[in-house]
């Protein structure tokens, strides 16, 4: 093997491994070491005895459970529509229902606050603000896309003939669904639900904005202890509990995901047109759940002085006392961080993908699982770990301008890998062999065959990690910040938390700008990637 090739190989392994090791494994290890050390262990073992802790755990679990159930119920008819019917605007429907999933949590929180403002649900008997209902609604808003896509695509590949057989045998449509379709859908519903549960369990921004101080989950409690009270010991104990719970869930999710992957072969046939009732019902339901908050958010951002104007948007450039930089300044920071984070994610994720696809089995497995961890782990684990681990030499990064982009890149890497790895894997081995017999060296094969085919996937992954970085709130809110480098989501969070008509208007305008930026970066690039041969679904 030539020296250059050897060096390239080593870099492929070392760069991603070092990145993950220093910025994720070491911080997580620090949480565990401190949390399970002599002092920490006492505190940890004392937790179950405290009523407040039991309350937090109970609330965390039940809100996640109910959110998941509601999400499945709301999304199933839509999954049916996507999988089994054709209608005009199907692609648009698919895209529109996906958007909420990529929106920043603070924007969603803002949208629901706008909704409650608009319909006078802030006070009185129908108060929605700072209730569990607000949290549940926002969680459904977020996660409908997960169920729609996971179950929808599985359903699409499901042989339709057993249902027809049931109908011929005298079953009503409902009976055929209940007894023939639903049992076969379970693997996909279980897989989707497990992910949704994980997301709701680790939900942070939504709970903080919509729940208020009395609705605390494990995630927000860690934040409150660490950032608000400066009680790092308690925060560490809670973070250990959170980490272990999340780890267990990730294992379950992985299992369920693999069961879903059982090979199926779609049967070709002419898909029937959607009936008016199914179409209107779905559009009505999803329009109310997904469309209304967004529409009201936009409307509120334009409402000023009792009329319509762009004044709220113009005000984004103004300095206000609440924030160290103007909203526009915060947006500029966020864009800059997102560009850097995306660059890091593309390099690290691209190299790691090469190892997963071409490396030895052990390395391949380790990278496949390891690089996914930051996505599964909660914002708390990520941000809090960095907060307590990277604060002393030689790794004193508290004041480094790289810390925020690095944290964002950790979350972006899995998105890059989720598109690049399946695309690389789907490249027919014989294409590489054909290139070799035509005289291309192994390096040339990578450049001429693998790279052009994977380039679109890389771009799609980059689009997602860009959007993720733009909207990242949880981990960023832990990181020691230089006031000048405030990100847009953090600025929005502060604006939303402060009463006052003018500030609320500005908050709405900032939320709309963030929403447009994230949605556009994902939709534009995903649409382009789908036209190529990009595999993999997020």
């Amino acid at each position: 093997m030539g020296t250059a090739r050897w060096v390239a190989r080593v870099l492929c392994v070392v760069v991603p491994a070092a990145f993950l090791g220093v910025f994720f494994l070491y911080p997580v290890g620090t949480i565990l070491v401190r949390g399970l050390g002599a002092d920490g262990l006492d505190r940890l073992l004392g937790l179950p005895g405290r009523a407040s802790f039991r309350g937090v755990v109970w609330f965390t679990v039940w809100q996640a459970t109910v959110s998941t159930l509601l999400t499945v119920v709301v999304a199933l008819p839509g999954a049916h529509l996507l999988a089994r019917r054709r209608f005009r605007g199907r692609a648009l429907f698919r895209a529109a229902t996906t958007v909420p999933f990529v929106l920043p949590t603070v924007v969603v929180g803002g949208a629901f606050l706008a909704l409650f403002d608009r319909f006078d649900l802030v006070d009185g008997p129908l108060r929605a603000t700072r209730t569990v209902w607000a949290i549940l609604a926002a969680h459904v808003f977020f996660n409908v896309a997960v169920v729609l896509r996971t179950v929808g695509s599985f359903w699409e590949g499901l042989d339709h003939r057993p249902e027809e057989q049931a109908r011929v045998l005298g079953a009503t449509p409902w009976q055929a669904f209940r007894w023939v379709t639903l049992p076969r859908l379970w693997p996909s519903i279980a897989a989707a639900s497990s992910i949704v549960f994980l997301f709701c369990f680790t939900s942070f921004g939504v709970i903080l904005i919509l729940g208020g101080p009395t609705r605390a989950t494990l995630e927000t409690e860690v934040w409150r202890h660490a950032v608000f009270r400066g009680d790092l010991a308690s925060a560490t104990a809670l973070a250990v509990v959170q980490f272990v719970a999340v780890l267990a869930m990730v294992v379950v999710v992985n299992r369920l995901q693999r069961r879903r992957a059982v090979g199926q072969r779609p049967v070709r046939r002419k898909v029937p047109r959607a009936g008016a009732r199914l179409l209107v019902g779905n559009l009505g339901l999803l329009g109310a759940v997904l469309g209304l908050p967004v529409a009201v958010l936009v409307e509120r951002s334009l409402a000023a002085d009792g009329g319509w104007s762009l004044r709220n948007y113009a005000a984004l450039a103004d300095r206000i006392n609440l924030l160290p930089v103007s909203a526009v300044g915060a947006l500029r920071n966020s864009l800059l961080f997102a560009i850097v984070a995306t660059g890091l994610a593309v390099v690290v994720g691209g190299l790691a993908s090469l190892v997963v696809v071409h490396g030895r089995q052990a390395a391949s497995r380790a990278f496949d699982l390891g690089m996914m961890l930051p996505l599964g782990a909660s914002a708390v684990t990520l941000g809090f770990g960095m907060l307590i681990a990277l604060d002393e030499p030689p790794l004193d990064l508290r004041s480094s301008r790289w810390l925020v982009p690095v944290a964002h890149a950790l979350v972006g890497v899995p998105f890059v890998m989720r598109t690049v790895v399946p695309t690389l894997r789907s490249i027919d081995r014989r294409l590489r062999e054909a290139a070799a017999t035509l005289g291309a060296s192994p390096a040339r094969v990578r450049r001429e065959v693998d790279l052009p085919i994977a380039a679109r996937a890389l771009a799609v992954g980059a689009g997602f990690s860009f959007a993720v970085s733009l909207g990242e709130f949880g981990a960023t809110s832990f990181l020691p910040r230089n006031p000048d480098r405030l990100t847009a989501p953090l600025a929005l969070f502060r604006l939303l938390g402060t009463p006052g008509e003018t500030l609320r208007g500005q908050a709405m305008a900032l939320a709309v700008v963030l929403m447009v930026l994230t949605a556009a970066s994902v939709l534009a690039i995903e649409g382009w990637g789908r036209r190529g041969s990009v595999r993999g679904d997020l």
Partner: protein, 330 residues
């Protein structure tokens, strides 16, 4: 100077796939590897191309040991069964790939690509996307891609396997004509004996990872030597003999074993006289204007051609011409 394979041996997970293969090609010769699927034909090609690493044996080009040379430096072309065209490049991009890798300047490449596309009968196809090609067109593009670099040896792995019968026959003829015109050394893999006879200067019959019989088509047809080779070559009338060399058709050998009755040396006559070998027609089918008869000769199934018509139940006389009986080894 040409290809020489010596004692090539290869196993997958302890299961031997190639077992001491020896094969030598003359310059410009077309050798067809013939055998059932799973006999190791494709693996042999892949080992010659350097895509599989043999556990023993060498691949030589003249006195150059290719065994240690990387695939991309061997100068051996390989065309895959399903063509393996690069989906991200158009037809011209596929055909010029090897030239670009070799560093040929762009203007020469363009010229060579046009020349090669003309050669395979696809003039003006350069701008087409490869996913718009029909099966036959894709096959020609793959052939052009392999030919463009002027490989010293071209290997074709069942290149016609995925095409329908009529197209396959037409392309077989075209391919044979083209390869001969180019004087290209070729190793061609197929399981179809008609294709083998149509293309080969020599046929190498493979079975169980070995070359069981190598020779010109005429030699092999006249004397396949083994039951396996006889079947691969398309012989149909194999008759088992008893201990004395006898069978219901008479005494065809000196001892136990199997003999081949060549279909092309079997003469069928209507109206059997008394005392002759009589067959009863069980099934008839017309192929290419001649009638193929499935006969029952004293309990032995025999296939024979003749030019007349027959109906089921007819009785005919069978005459064994000179050289009709060929003894086979187990």
């Amino acid at each position: 100077m040409s290809l020489r394979v010596e004692g090539l041996t290869l196993s997958f997970d302890g299961v031997p796939v190639l077992d001491g293969i020896d094969l030598e090609l003359a310059a410009g010769e077309v050798v067809v590897l013939l055998g059932p699927s799973g006999c190791g034909k494709s693996t042999l090609l892949r080992a010659i191309a350097g895509l599989e690493r043999p556990s023993e044996g060498q691949v030589w080009w003249g006195d150059e040991d290719l065994t240690v040379v990387a695939t991309h430096q061997r100068g051996i072309g390989l065309m895959f069964q399903d063509h393996a065209l690069f989906p991200h490049r158009d037809v011209a991009g596929n055909v010029e790939f090897g030239l670009r890798v070799a560093g040929m300047p762009a203007d020469q490449r363009t010229h060579r690509v046009r020349q090669t596309l003309d050669l395979v009968g696809l003039p003006g196809f350069g701008d087409r996307r490869v996913d718009t090609l029909s099966g036959g067109e894709a096959q020609r593009v793959a052939l052009a891609r392999s030919l463009a670099t002027g490989p010293r040896l071209l290997m074709l792995d069942e290149p016609l396997g995925s095409l329908d019968r009529a197209l396959r026959e037409r392309l077989t003829a075209e391919l044979g004509e083209l390869l001969r015109r180019l004087g290209q050394a070729v190793v061609h893999v197929t399981h179809d004996h008609d294709e083998a006879f149509a293309l080969a200067d020599r046929i190498a019959v493979m079975g169980g990872g070995r070359l069981v019989r190598v020779g010109t088509p005429a030699e092999l047809w006249a004397d396949p030597r083994s039951v396996h080779a006889a079947r691969c070559l398309g012989h149909e009338n194999l008759v088992d003999l008893d201990g004395d060399g006898g069978c219901p058709l008479g005494r065809l050998g000196d001892g136990p074993g199997t003999v081949l009755i060549r279909g092309d040396r079997l003469i069928v006559r209507p109206e059997p006289p008394a005392g002759g070998l009589v067959g009863e027609v069980r099934r008839t089918s017309i192929r290419g204007g001649r009638t193929l008869l499935d006969l029952d000769v004293a309990g032995v199934a025999i296939r024979a051609w003749w030019d007349g018509t027959a109906t089921i139940g007819d009785r005919v006389e069978l005459v064994l011409a000179d050289g009709a009986i060929v003894p086979l080894a187990g």
